[in-house]
């Protein structure tokens, strides 16, 4: 055992050293070219020009004035425009299909979550049907969110970003379309399996191998076209977002394959594997996809490059290094080797490095331009998501500390934290991205801007109620469980009002998703006034209302 600890310590120090040498070696060369790579996302004359297809024309005007008083948004004329148009066109069908499927999953997943939430405080509600019992509808919710909504939305956004960032037409869009279809079939099969009692029994890995195969093949058919596009790129520099997407596309299949391999894992080893996967699917799949989107859309909407290119380099590699080893903190106090837990706690604390690198980089880009949030629907969701990323990550680091974890482990506090990450951060960024992308895909504007506003405020207020309620409830629950004189039933009873608050918050979130989905499909069927191009001349009456709301 001492030998193992020694090896581990040496490996850890060596790898840490290697990480910094690696970053330094790249940063050295970046003083010359970093600036060019950071502005890779802008065409000629585009720097300084705001962009948000989700904004109305009047909002765009205000956005431009907020960013650069005295300058008018103007049409671009460049050969680059044609290249981007071709890139967009090559991906538009598959992106549209993936995002549409993701919205369907979002709505279904929301209802599954809401039902689970209500069942936690009203246990005799809807108990007759097996597939609706809490122990089935809860994993159905988690998997629909993770593999239905989050993965599909992330894949859709990545498929749209990759050709655009590389100014290269998507290679094999047809295959990606089939891949998205197979992935969807996998999600359907997995959901049916859980509902009928054929779960694998591991959190995040409930889908049986038959469904996993569909998702692996589907995922490969989506991933290869993106990597082939990357290898045929027509741009010189790889923008930050490309690193994140490219690496995520490599990481996820390996994680998924190792974790789901039948008959390989056993007992406590399976538990460590379970949380190696459970945390890496967040850190090496969802987080990279959302960061890729925010690294693109924040500078793109504002029309100014990201604050520091070198910081993003540090953020990327330290995220990969530290995040990949934090999984053990889910087993603090469990029957696992203590060196493993200690390493995970240390790396959880080290996560502040990538988090602050990203936070400083993105928030400093927005800093001084907060007025832009009044006018750009995309930016509003994405900046909120980026803030939640910082919050969720710092909270996660603290939660890994043994003293804090002793209280929060096994309680609803952890559930609240999980939602801050996957909802507050990831889902908000996907909402913002979809608002930007869909007008380009459909060549049709969002029909009713008030619905974007309604969506934003419903999910923001709903999530606020959800998160605050559940965090307090979970914390009190944890404290009560640590008090030996408190009977266990009291720890159950004291959570009830907080669980009811969570159902209310969750209900508002679901309502917001329904508004979003309705708007999405109205756009799909080209409802609403035709406002594309110069059709809109009078400012919509809505604008001051959005402004007032955002200031309040």
């Amino acid at each position: 055992m001492d030998f193992t600890v020694g090896i581990l310590l040496v490996t850890f120090l060596l790898s840490l050293l290697a990480l910094f040498v690696f970053i330094a070696s790249m940063a050295k060369g970046l003083f010359g070219s970093g600036g060019a790579a950071a502005v890779q996302i802008f065409d000629d004359d585009e720097l300084g020009t705001v962009e948000d297809p989700a904004a109305t024309q009047a909002q765009r005007g205000s956005l431009q004035r907020a960013m650069d008083p005295g300058q008018q948004a103007e049409a671009r004329t460049s050969a680059d425009v044609a290249a981007r148009k071709r890139a967009d066109q090559s991906s538009s069908l598959v992106v549209g299909v993936c995002l549409t499927l993701s919205v369907v999953w979002l709505v279904l997943a929301s209802f599954a979550g809401l039902i689970s939430s209500i069942k936690l405080h009203s246990p005799d509600w809807w108990v007759g049907m097996e597939w609706l019992t809490f122990g089935r509808i809860r994993p159905v919710h988690l998997n629909l969110v993770a593999y239905g909504w989050c993965s599909m939305a992330g894949i859709g956004v990545a498929l749209w970003l990759i050709p655009r960032l590389l100014k290269t037409e998507l290679v094999g869009a047809k295959w990606a379309l089939i891949g998205g279809g197979l992935w969807t079939l996998g999600v359907v099969a997995g959901t049916v399996a859980i509902s009928t009692g054929h779960s694998d029994g591991l959190e995040w890995l409930e889908y049986p191998w038959q469904a996993d195969i569909l998702m692996i093949v589907g995922g490969a058919l989506v991933g290869f076209p993106m990597w082939l596009t990357l290898l045929r790129r027509k741009v010189e520099h790889l923008y930050v977002s490309v690193w994140y997407i490219g690496a995520g596309l490599l990481w996820f299949p390996i994680l998924f394959l190792i974790a789901n391999w039948p008959g390989l894992h056993f007992g406590v080893q399976q538990a460590t594997m379970n949380w190696w996967f459970g945390h890496n699917v967040l850190g090496l799949w969802f987080t990279p996809l959302a960061l890729a989107a925010s690294y693109y859309f924040i500078p793109k909407v504002l029309g100014k490059p990201i604050h520091s290119y070198n910081l993003s380099l540090l953020g990327f590699w330290s995220l990969a290094f530290f995040y990949s080893q934090v999984g053990g903190h889910h087993l603090i106090g469990g029957p696992v080797p203590s060196w493993l837990i200690t390493i995970s706690i240390v790396q959880s604390m080290m996560m502040v490095v990538p988090v602050f690198a990203v936070a400083i980089n993105q928030h400093l880009t927005v800093l001084g331009n907060f007025r832009a949030l009044l006018y750009s629907p995309t930016l509003r969701f994405i900046v909120l998501g980026a803030m939640m990323y910082t919050a969720a990550s710092v909270q996660g680091s603290l939660q890994a500390l043994r003293s804090v974890n002793t209280v929060t482990h096994f309680t609803h506090y952890t559930v609240a934290h999980a939602h801050l990450g996957l909802y507050g951060f990831y889902t908000m960024i996907m909402f913002g991205s979809i608002y930007f992308i869909m007008p380009r895909v459909m060549k049709w504007e969002w029909p009713y801007p008030w619905m974007i506003s309604a969506h934003f405020w419903l999910v923001l207020v709903g999530f606020g109620v959800y998160f605050v309620g559940l965090s307090f409830g979970g914390w009190y629950q944890g404290l009560a469980m640590l008090d030996k004189d408190t009977p266990f039933m009291d720890t159950v009873k004291l959570t009830l009002p907080y669980l009811q608050a969570r159902s209310i918050g969750g209900g508002l979130m679901t309502l917001g998703h329904l508004v979003f989905a309705a708007h999405f499909f109205m756009m799909g069927w080209k409802f609403g006034p035709r406002r594309l191009g110069a059709a809109l001349l009078k400012p919509p009456a809505l604008l001051p209302r959005i402004g007032k709301g955002a200031r309040a």
Binding site: G135, D200, A271, Q325
Partner: protein, 230 residues
């Protein structure tokens, strides 16, 4: 209104030229190769640490002498436990007394890896909406109690938020047939003329729950030193 553009696009093209000028020898930048190699090396490290090393360390861990393998019926019950997601509310890993008063609640001693020698898939759990179950068989060995509690938890534990599992039972008017297990409910919850019969899934689940008993010592007892009685 100042004339749009020119200063900005000039600085932009300056950056462009700068990048071309610096794209000579010895320039380091993210490219596909670095991305693939770097990301794969890092993931392999994490996998070695969190998956492979525990695999090597725990592969030959012997089950403690007091632990019996599950019977076929208990394994069937374990599948019912998994199918109905009991693990989303019940952990199976009491914490050490130094960290939390789990043992004082009757949940048992802190487990060791060997205690889970027959537990695949693992059911350690991450949530305690309900109590830890690693030693529920020792704490509550009554089959009648478990059957009735699964049928309606609130008949036994007022204020419980556990869902009832009516689909694991048949409720009929009249008498039970030979070979059927009748659930005896507390008087307030039983209806005259109605009989609640446990289905095979319920019986298997209860067998599994009762088998959960890790009250044997975690380590083999130390050899007693032979000393002359004083």
């Amino acid at each position: 209104m100042s004339p749009p553009g020119p200063p900005k696009s000039e600085s932009r093209s300056a950056q462009h030229e700068g990048s071309h000028a610096s794209s000579g020898a010895g320039r380091f930048e993210m490219d596909e190769l670095r991305l693939v190699v770097g990301s794969m090396v890092i993931l392999s490290g994490a996998t070695a640490l969190l998956v492979v090393l525990p695999y090597l360390l725990l592969r030959d861990e012997p089950p403690p002498p007091g632990l019996k393998p599950y019977t076929e019926q208990q394994l069937k019950g374990r599948q019912v436990y998994i199918a109905n997601g009991c693990l989303y509310c019940h952990s199976q890993q009491p914490r050490d007394i130094a960290q939390a008063p789990d043992a004082l609640r009757g949940w048992g001693r802190a487990p060791v890896a060997g205690d889970y020698a027959y537990d695949t898939p693992h059911l350690l759990g991450t949530m305690r909406t309900g109590p830890d179950l690693l030693n529920i068989g020792a704490r509550q060995p009554s089959r009648d109690w478990h059957l009735g509690h699964l049928y309606q938890p609130r008949a036994y534990t007022p204020g419980s938020t556990m869902p009832p599992y009516p689909f694991l039972f048949d409720v009929r008017q009249g008498a039970a047939q030979a070979g059927e297990t009748v659930v005896t409910l507390p008087p307030a919850w039983s209806r005259p003329g109605q009989v609640v019969v446990a289905r095979p899934e319920a019986l298997a689940l209860v067998e599994y729950l009762i088998s959960l008993d890790r009250t044997y010592p975690a380590l083999a007892p130390l050899p007693v030193p032979k000393k002359a009685p004083s």
